[in-house]
Symmetry: C2
Subunit: 191 residues, 2 copies
Amino acid sequence: MEKVSIGTSVFVFPMPVVLVGTLAQGKANFMTVGWVSRVNASPPMIAVALGKHHYTVPFIVENGTFSVCVPSADMREKTDYCGLVTGEKTDKSKLFDVFYGSLQTAPMIKECPLCIECRLVKAVELPTNDVFIGEITASYADEGCLSDGKPDFKKVDPLLLTMPDNGYWALGERAGKAWSDGKKLMSNAGK
Amino acid sequence: MEKVSIGTSVFVFPMPVVLVGTLAQGKANFMTVGWVSRVNASPPMIAVALGKHHYTVPFIVENGTFSVCVPSADMREKTDYCGLVTGEKTDKSKLFDVFYGSLQTAPMIKECPLCIECRLVKAVELPTNDVFIGEITASYADEGCLSDGKPDFKKVDPLLLTMPDNGYWALGERAGKAWSDGKKLMSNAGK
């Protein structure tokens, strides 16, 4: 099939939807983020890329910590709300049941099935966004979302975001097994 | 629900599956990557976090370019294969129909519904991984995967990866609208 050009400001894959938590002027604050990825294997690190104008930004630097919580699909309205209103004008500290881990300044959300506490290790300044890289110091899960002690994503029921259609999506059916499905091609090649 | 600790080496959200392309010793090479995110709004940038030992790594630096292609779910076996074998030992240049854009050194995959060309703008060294940040200089789509000129993710049919269960997943049902579903809570608050 022939390709057509679709410009440069593209979002070509579904993004995981998370809530980034900070302690801001003594109150828990949460912002909705889709630009998030694991970035280092050992020690485990995660990065979030936030527009520089966000209320959250200076508090990550001030505290040297942040949290990343994964909402389930049934938290869609509150999750979206956290992306619609700024902590500068709206107190979001009562929106969720909040808890803290050992870092003490990274508020997490009890309703979220999975939560991570991070210690800031590096901030990378880009033209419009700051990329905050945090070492994962602890993570917490609802026992009911685990199978054999590990996250079971059918139970977690996370949200995905696509742009520019601004769609929230559920995770679909399991389609295969990574580091396994391609082995057929290895044996076909006689390896 | 009470939370249980699940350690620090966690993968708490589904990750988009992409193929990162480089020109390596004159041949197109592709590796499978799940640690990928948009990181800057303007100019548009994307980051991939690659283990330092990967064959791909020095060629991104040498060329100053790389590509990010999104395979559809029916490319699952070839996609997985690219994560199983290293370009150091296996020639992956004939696995796909390859094309090049204006950067000339960022090979892309015709079979992939969405492809991005990137110019390297920053490399961030972390302990075990290098994060390569690229400016998106062009992107290409199959016309059949667009609706109103924009990616239609039901047609793209991308793969998602979860760990540590190593599952590939399809995108599920559309669950809502971002920057919209939370407005109900704004009006409830009288705003």
